[in-house]
């Protein structure tokens, strides 16, 4: 779907669409930015495996680009907290 002459904005959206529709990851919230021959990924994913897989999928789609995988893995980082409502 991506043509060699496509402006980077379109290529980035093609990548985002592919990440949403690829059932291995089904990721809708990934930030994709293309700068020169680098593709920068940002956002939060649920597991380390999904972070790696998103990087692999983007590499397969844009083999001539360097993938800068800045995705963060969601952690259950905080203790459960309670809020009193009344």
């Amino acid at each position: 779907m991506t043509q060699p002459t496509d402006p980077p904005q379109y290529v980035a959206e093609h990548i985002r669409t592919a990440l949403a529709s690829d059932r291995r990851v089904s990721e809708l919230g990934i930030g994709v930015k293309i700068v020169g021959n680098r593709v920068q990924l940002s956002g939060v994913v649920a597991t380390p495996d999904r972070r790696a897989l998103v990087g692999e999928i983007v590499h397969q789609l844009l083999p001539d680009h360097e993938v800068q995988n800045d995705l963060v893995v969601q952690e259950i980082a905080e203790a459960n907290r309670a809020e009193r409502l009344r």
């Binding site: 089904s26 597991t47 203790a79 907290r81 309670a82 009193r84 409502l85």
Partner: protein, 253 residues
């Protein structure tokens, strides 16, 4: 005291097996009921729902869920609902249920909800069939939610949604995508039907707290927002002060 645990957007897949169950084993010490606000699977796969159901076997309190858009993506929502039902989870869509806990009745009415945007900047039931179908779907779910809330006979009433009824809990998300994150029609239905608390998910980049136009508290419990296994909301006397760690002993207890 009534203690309601809630979380959404846990996005379970094969790679998340075993990550969540350990947090559910002690749940009964902290809460009377667990609410799941949709997007429970990664992409709506039956295999993913099997992992989810297995994790939920560890839940030690009554568990009520709505599905989210991810759970519909695999066109297997009915099967996912069946798998959840088999492990004791009550899945709501346009209906309600009551959980009795500690002599009190906790009423929950649930719907996935849908998008359309918020007052002053929303889609209308106008134009192409596709656009009308979009808004009418939201209106239909909102109408059913309103009726389900009105029918609840309970000490505390909770509206459980996936999509957001208000823009305040979306703050942090890009303004351009608000119409895909929720609809004011849901808030209108909740304000008319009546509730003490609204919980939703869907907006990973949003904010936890807001209120409907009529003043009902809304909480975005998407896991990337609360960054914990679940959040606990308490009603009634005794127990926790605001923002204490869940499970802390009651003062003087």
């Amino acid at each position: 005291m009534i203690r309601i645990a809630a979380v959404g957007d846990i996005h379970m897949g094969h790679d998340s097996r075993g990550l969540w169950a350990p947090h559910l084993r002690n749940l009964a010490r902290e809460a009377d009921v667990l609410l799941l606000a949709g997007d429970l699977t990664r992409g709506g796969g039956v295999d993913e729902a099997e992992v989810l159901a297995e994790e939920l076997r560890e839940a030690t309190v009554p568990t009520i869920a709505v599905l989210g858009n991810h759970d519909y993506h695999g066109d297997a929502a009915t099967k996912i609902e069946e798998l959840l039902t088999e492990v004791g989870v009550r899945v709501l869509e346009g209906n309600g249920t009551v959980v009795e806990a500690g002599g009190a009745r906790i009423g929950i009415a649930g719907t996935k909800g849908f998008g359309g945007g918020f007052a002053g900047a929303c889609g209308s039931d106008f134009g192409e069939p596709e656009m009308k179908a979009f808004i009418r779907h939201t209106q239909l779910l909102a109408d059913r939610l309103q009726q389900a809330l009105a029918d609840l006979r309970a000490d505390v009433r909770v509206a459980l949604l996936h999509y957001s009824p208000i823009p305040a809990t979306l703050q942090g998300e890009r303004l351009e995508i608000y119409p895909f994150l929720g609809s004011y029609l849901l808030a209108e239905a909740i304000d008319r039907g009546g509730a003490d608390l609204v919980v939703h998910g869907h907006a990973h980049g949003g904010s936890e707290r807001g209120v409907t136009p009529a003043g009902i508290r809304v909480r975005n419990v998407a896991q990337p927002v609360i960054r914990s296994a679940y959040r606990v909301y308490c009603f009634g006397d005794g127990g926790l002060a605001c923002d204490e760690p869940a499970g802390a002993p009651a003062p003087g207890a």
